[in-house]
Symmetry: C2
Subunit: 214 residues, 2 copies
């Protein structure tokens, strides 16, 4: 079937949100941990993480328009630090619950039962239950004129992950760590490996990098 | 284990690329179809698609620094149109092969055996083999000072998808369409549903939206 732009614009708001949010494909499932200037912790689920580059190690995410209270964005701009924590199968319900609109004084850690992990490295809390997590230092905020959203860019300042999750190439095995993917607003998925391929070159067939069949 | 920023900076380039590319979590697996002003088609795999908003329906992706020939970016800026085509299990090898550095005159369609699908809607080619695909009109280019990359933003102008892939809420069932996820540079994954949750509210338990157990 074909959906035209005109048909899209006539959909009711909730239907259009569901369609367009799932159209972009599978998304990273993460929790952003921040701290405000009074020392209060905030935790927010985010599915708009995007890899920007490896040297320097830069990661971006999309923040909604800053026209109302936005704890995560305000905390990052105020303190300059934040953490990103992978969501695994065991914490999908608690992670989803962080999206509820809690009052300003309430920490999503307390409300959902997830545990803040404080380290010497950063004032921003990690999520103790996450298997893969990293700290960032705020670098740049880009304003997206088309809809008032913002791209927040940070440089990775520390990575914490299970001892056995790095392979010989340096790749992190997300599947072994139980990291999940999101589609749309509310759909959580585990993954299964289909294949890994060699670096592609013209006129040369791809090789599988898997050492055992899946 | 903990990897410090200093340790990250000392990794050899290839290892750091593998670690940081997988650190951001699962990514959308898509092919971008473009056309140049001479009518030549280009196809490029991209894993940096990000949902920006539903009204207007905006999708972004990250283009590498425009310091050398970048067919996809140049074609989008020249013609103002492009397509994004989901990668499904049946075309992962062909999709990965589009990342090879072909000479300027060679179309990745010809090189990989994927089929351009031309419509009245846009000058940019769809990928006929894709199950879910959409057209975009270029809206905005943001320059990321931190590493010279660019965020390319487009508005969705048409969606093509299987007849039975929209549920009552308007959500697209990516899993039924076989859409895959990517981790790192070269790892392709299928997915399995863990759960779907209701809209989260404070002091109210989440409900599962699944009508049958998975």
């Amino acid at each position: 079937m074909i959906i035209t732009a005109q048909q899209l614009s006539r959909l009711d708001s909730r239907t259009r949100i569901n369609t367009i949010n799932s159209l972009s494909g599978f998304k990273s499932a993460s929790l952003i941990g921040t701290v405000n200037e009074q020392g209060g912790y905030n935790l927010a689920i985010i599915s708009s993480i995007v890899h920007l580059g490896a040297d320097p190690a830069l990661v971006g995410f999309i923040a909604r328009p800053h026209t109302t209270r936005r704890d995560t964005l305000e905390n990052i701009l105020a303190t300059g630090v934040y953490t990103i924590n992978h969501i695994h199968e065991g914490i999908i319900a608690q992670a989803h619950q962080t999206s509820a609109r809690y009052d300003a004084g309430i920490s999503e850690f307390d409300a959902t039962g997830l545990t803040p992990l404080i380290t010497d490295h950063s004032a921003a809390p990690y999520v103790k239950e996450s298997h893969i997590r990293y700290s960032l230092r705020f670098v740049e905020k880009l304003d997206i004129a088309a809809n008032g959203t913002h791209m927040i860019i940070g440089e990775v300042s520390e990575v914490q992950l299970p001892d056995d999750s790095l392979d010989a190439s340096g790749k992190i095995d997300l599947e072994a760590a139980g990291t999940v993917a999101i589609s749309g607003l509310d759909h959580y998925h585990s993954t299964r490996t289909l294949n890994r391929f060699s670096y592609a070159k013209p006129d040369q067939p791809l090789c599988s990098l898997l050492t055992e069949p899946v």
